[in-house]
Amino acid sequence: MNLDERGLPTAQPATHQAVRLCPFCAAPAHAKFCGSCGRDTTAPRRPCQKCRRMMPSNEPACRHCGATYKSDMRWKVPLIIFLFLLAFVVSFIIAVVS
């Protein structure tokens, strides 16, 4: 294996290059963009919450099952606000009672 000055593997000649597969369609990907599905094979990706197949993080819906992505913030932010309101109400009640 060829190493650069940082000790990391350098790009190999095409004949020796390991087979890369597109993370979205599993087709052999020889370039940044997949020749089969056309998507960026190096893009951040996440599993679909319904069918568990990979989809790019910047796509709002799964191409396979159509399920839309729902962020965890949908329930975390309201929960955090509720906890703070609860804390203020409890501290107010304690202050009044005492």
Binding site: M1, L8, A11, P47
Partner: protein, 144 residues
């Protein structure tokens, strides 16, 4: 204290994301907490809800260094339910900073398309510090 008592558990989480013939060399568990500009007001407002809020807003990662890529898995839960996968080919790494202190190894990748920053506590899992330092050395070219 440790998030994972068995270091092989996070290692196996990489299996579905490795390419044919790709070898996982080092892996580590890390977190990204919200900004201190958010943590401080949350704690000042109320300590217990602030602590819960910070825990809810903290992102958990396991990162792996293979012979080809630096792979980041954002996950949740004890069973490593992967939420997002980011990978950086080692032969075209973006600018990055990595350092190790007394408790944490910090890795920050300044890629405008897929930025990543996390810190890896030495007690995150058995061998977390050694793996973190080995990755720091490999990514920055320092001698471990």
């Amino acid at each position: 204290m440790a998030r994972f008592s068995d270091p092989n558990v996070p290692a196996t989480a990489f299996t579905p994301y490795l390419e044919p013939g790709e070898q996982l060399r080092h892996w580590a568990y890390g977190v990204k907490q919200p900004s201190m500009l958010l943590i401080l007001p949350l704690y000042l407002l109320a300590i217990l809800p602030g602590a819960i809020a910070v825990a809810l807003l903290t992102k958990e990662y396991i990162v792996g260094l293979t012979d080809r890529r630096f792979i980041v898995l954002r996950f949740k839960g004890k069973n490593i339910d992967v939420q997002e996968v980011i990978d950086y080919p080692l032969n075209s790494l973006p600018p990055l900073k990595a350092s190790t202190g007394a408790l944490f190894t910090h890795i920050k990748i300044n890629d405008p398309a897929k930025p990543f920053v996390a810190k890896f506590h030495r007690l995150g899992m058995p061998g977390n510090r050694e793996h973190g330092m080995a990755m720091e050395a490999a990514l920055t070219g320092k001698t471990a």
